[in-house]
Amino acid sequence: MPLSTQSQADIDQYILIASLDNARNLSNILKAISSRDHAIFNATQNGLKVTVEDSKCLQANAFIQADIFQEYIIKEDTVGFQVNLTVLLDCLTIFGGSTVPGVCTALRMCYNGYGYPLTLFLEEGGVVTVCKINTQEPEEPIDFDFCSTNVTNKVILQSDSLKEAFSELDMTSEVLQITMSPSHPYFRLSTFGNSGNAHYDYPKDSDMMELFQCTKIQTNRYKMSLLKPSTKALALSCKVSVRTDSRGFLSLQYLVRNDDGQICFVEYYCCPDEEVEEE
């Protein structure tokens, strides 16, 4: 759906142009990380990375590779800005959530550079909407210093099994405790709420468990309020990898397939609430 009302001069001034035939391929994945208002955008040759942070303890990242876009032009090595994510999502879904097959909103996202607003051209059924969203100075995302060499325990699960557990989590519990161990209980999610405690155990030989690599027993607690929003990413994903490192930091990586079957990634990093070394 070419938005050819723009002149060549307009196009030349943009340092970033990203187009999608189906805006949902962007909006769905952004919804998966939208627990806070502001998002840091960082575009490179490889694609777009969108970061949302919460109280310096949690970071959510969405990765949309360049080849997902029908058009992806970037004129600098990196382009960074910050926008209000809620506003951006409202704009991306401005035509409403139509589920009529074959009807979708086309998007062309353009950015002139520092100080300029983010311009969105959205089209559906011949109707064009232009949105200009003010941008801010991008904050530097926290580096959680989570590297694969430091990973103590890792499991990869099919998302379906975790989805039910996450939707049932006792919200009166302030923490979500994750226990990973080479022996029983292998992989356990625990909550401690008003009516008592609950444990969800996944055995290592479950057919939902695609990978189980646990070297030593670790029990860590994370604030429920920080992790609960990750349920959105979980809902979109087909697989999730759960990793903890020697400091107890948690990394959740979600494999998401968009409407066209292409793969994108969402990851969450979270600091532990308190260290609980042994069972």
Binding site: S161, E164, A165, S167, E168, D170, N194, S195, G196, N197, A198, H199, Y200, D201, Y202, P203, D205, S206, D207, M208
Partner: protein, 383 residues
């Protein structure tokens, strides 16, 4: 205590708990020799429900060694264990209920597909046995119908409707919404449904009667009965006596006991009672009064004998608003009595929870304070 339910019975158990949640806020659990009793009562003690799951309902049923274990817990905590009701039969293979008395925890473990194990350790409070006293056998009127009939009938009444009036004659049943006498009749919407005795599987009417009870609390049982396909039996007598709705099969028995308005509850005595449920008398649409009048006239002159022709029962003595059907002498203190301005009589309970009036200095928290050894007088339901 160690009970294991498997397969489809896990969902039945979950549905029983959900039905009970429509009655009260707490679930009373008591493992008996006859089976596991799950009970609930509403705050004004005018509605009581009990599900008795026989040992055959379970793959394994082991009552605790000390026979007098009883506990109660917030029903929401137990409902949280069986959250995804729709997928329960697909995902859960086995449900195990165990008592951990050292830690005062009731452990409910769900063994799910793919090896997933969900363990819930719920805290509970010890309590007295909760048992409303009623006798189905002595009721003069008994109706039994397929749950679909009852669900379809009740569908015609708005969900917000609190009270419904059931009237029976020798061959018909009327269900109408109950409207306060002091409500302006031109502003009220009246709904009446008439069913012939042929619609019922069993129709035994001793005498023409009209009873009024709370519909809302009944809906929990209807949902359960409808999903299980079991017929619903109704037992009732004269106004003031509770109406009992019952669903039975070979491995479970559910009884919902609802208090009914007593005959002597004249509106002027209940001016204060409107504060109890201020929304009930919210009038429906503003009808044109002449249309309403002609509608009412038409109703009264219809060929069917209307409920207004039902002879009223002999007036009840005003100080005896509760009817007990207990067969045994009660040694306990006076029954739990609701505050005098409540319209519905509280049901007579065999439990010995002290009433607020009897123990004015005690806080409401300690309702489960034990009285004397009258707890040995465990009345079992007469069936």
């Amino acid at each position: 205590m160690d009970c294991v339910a498997t397969g489809g019975n896990v969902k039945v158990l979950a549905k029983a708990i959900h039905s009970l949640s429509r009655i009260g806020e707490e679930l009373y659990l008591e493992p008996l020799e006859d089976g596991l009793a799950l009970r609930s009562v509403n705050s004004s003690r005018s509605a009581f429900a009990c599900f008795l799951l026989s040992p055959l309902f379970f793959q394994r049923y082991q009552a605790p060694s000390d026979q007098s274990f009883r506990c109660k817990m917030p029903i929401k905590s137990v409902q949280a264990v069986f959250k995804s009701l729709a997928s329960l039969d697909r995902s859960v293979e086995k449900c195990r209920i165990q008592l951990n008395s050292e830690k005062s925890r009731l452990t409910i473990t769900l063994h799910c597909k793919h090896g997933l194990l969900k363990t819930h350790n719920l805290s509970y409070q010890d309590c007295e046995s909760l048992q409303a006293v009623f006798d189905k056998e002595s009721c003069a009127n008994v109706l039994q119908a397929q749950p679909r009939l009852m669900v379809d009938t009740v569908l015609h009444f708005p969900p917000s409707l609190e009270e419904v009036n059931l009237s029976v004659s020798s061959d018909r049943v009327w269900l109408r919404n109950h409207v306060e006498d002091d409500t302006d009749s031109s502003r009220a919407m009246m709904t009446e449904l008439c069913l012939s005795s042929e619609e019922f599987d069993h129709f035994a009417v001793g005498s023409q009667t009209s009873v009024t009870f709370c519909l809302k609390e009944l809906r929990g049982l209807l949902v359960f009965a409808d999903s299980s396909g079991l017929p619903v039996s109704m037992y009732f007598d004269e106004p003031g006596s509770p109406v009992i709705l019952s669903v039975t099969d070979s491995v479970l028995e559910a009884n919902f006991v609802l208090a009914t308005l007593s005959e002597d509850s004249h509106p002027k005595n209940h001016v204060n009672s409107n504060t109890k449920r201020p929304d009930t008398e919210q009038p429906a649409d503003d009808f044109m009064s002449d249309d309403m009048d002609s509608f009412l006239i038409a109703m009264e002159t219809s060929e069917l004998p209307g409920p207004s022709q039902v002879p009223t029962s002999p007036p009840q003595p005003t100080n005896d608003r509760k009817h007990s059907f207990s067969e045994e002498e009660q040694e306990e203190e006076a029954l739990v009595e609701g505050p005098p301005n409540k319209k519905f009589c509280s049901l007579f309970f065999g439990s010995v929870l002290p009433t607020p009036s009897q123990l004015p200095n005690q806080t409401m928290q300690s309702q489960e304070v034990l009285a004397s050894d009258s707890e040995d007088e465990n009345q079992t339901e007469t069936s």
